[in-house]
């Protein structure tokens, strides 16, 4: 995997370089001390994995992540400030690790990135469908996205709620989330994803969708409010 380090602090870059050298599958292509330099590097050559600091003078790590579009590599945020965790995960990054980065934590993150890369669908292969197939008690069933109200993680299963029933699918919420169009579905809680167009009401930390209560956790509230474009 081609890697790029983006951090304005030389000590932080040097420790990351050392950590990258521990894994023979990681190839350090370059290190950048600011996000603009990194942006140019990413446009110039294929980068698979970005170790990205958040707070940097000029363009921040968050802004860089948002600006890359289809050229965006997998991202592991590295920061000294835990306060960014919720915002960082909203950007669909692989991981968020705090400095100083320990060897164990680094290797865990890299494993996640490798796993993700194995299953990654390239952007050009993505065809926006309006349905998904699920395995329901031995039957493969087609579900129209527009009929899905919300999804709830429960243990090793995800319950997919449609108008008058739910389907129990043996999977994780994260892997279903990756298959659903982000333009329609939104994570509102560690255990819930909703179809935004199905919201009836929002009061405090609770949504009502088709007479069911769906909790909204603090970490996702700002994103939800933004998406709902409340007048």
């Amino acid at each position: 995997m081609n890697c790029l380090i983006v951090d304005d602090n030389k000590i932080a870059r040097t420790t990351l370089k050392k950590l990258i050298s521990l894994d023979p599958l990681l190839v350090l292509v370059a290190e950048c001390s600011n996000a603009t330099e990194a942006y140019i590097k990413i446009l110039e050559q294929p980068i698979d994995l970005l170790f990205l600091d958040i707070e940097m003078p000029g363009m921040t790590g968050m802004e860089l992540a948002k600006s890359l579009g289809q050229k965006r590599p997998l991202i592991i945020f590295t920061t000294s400030n835990r306060d960014y965790a919720a915002d960082a995960f909203d950007l669909d990054v692989i991981d968020f690790i705090t400095k100083p980065v320990t060897t164990v934590r680094f290797l865990q993150s890299v494993e996640k990135a490798k796993e993700f890369q194995k299953t990654k669908i390239l952007p050009q292969d993505l065809i926006e469908e309006d349905f998904i197939f699920i395995r329901d008690s031995g039957t493969v069933r087609r579900l129209e996205l527009d009929n899905i109200l919300y999804l709830e993680a429960q243990g090793d299963y995800v319950k997919i709620y449609v108008s008058n029933r739910f389907y129990n699918v043996h999977t994780t919420l994260k892997s279903v989330e990756e298959k659903l169009p982000a333009s329609v579905f939104l994570r509102v809680h560690r255990s819930f994803i909703i179809n935004v167009s199905k919201i009836d009401t929002l009061e405090g930390g609770t949504l009502i969708i088709n007479k069911s209560l769906v909790p909204v956790s603090d970490a996702y509230r700002a994103t939800l409010n933004k998406r709902m474009q409340i007048l």
Partner: protein, 124 residues
């Protein structure tokens, strides 16, 4: 805390090499490189922090304190300066308190730098 203390490897009053040693896995060249960067970088970082504080530019004080965090934590100084660094990130304390925090950071980092220089001499 005095810079006159006779040093022997592994017996420092301020710097704590546990993280660097865990990362280096015996690679002394790497350890030396990190310590060298710290010795070179910390005076500039402190100068900027004090300069921004003197100019009353508190958003830059916050930025400078944040920028110093990796160097401080990698050399094991974070626990010694936790209160001061958190106060500078939050910027909720009185001016006098912040000023005292900056003086403490300056004092601890300079003493740690003196230890780091001694440590550099111990590397072959």
């Amino acid at each position: 805390m005095s810079a006159q203390t006779p040093y022997t490897a592994g017996s420092y009053q301020l710097i704590d090499l546990s993280y660097i040693e865990q990362l280096s896995n015996g690679d002394k060249a790497f350890e030396k490189e990190i310590v060298q960067i710290f010795v070179e970088q910390i005076p500039q970082d402190l100068a900027l922090l004090k300069q921004h504080f003197a100019a009353g530019d508190f958003s830059k004080v916050k930025q400078s304190a944040h920028y110093m965090l990796p160097s401080i934590s990698i050399l094991g100084l974070e626990t010694k300066l936790k209160v001061e660094l958190e106060a500078l990130e939050a910027l909720e304390s009185a001016y006098k308190v912040l000023k005292r925090h900056i003086e403490t950071i300056d004092k601890v980092c300079n003493a740690a730098r003196a230890e780091a220089i001694e440590l550099l001499h111990s590397y072959a």
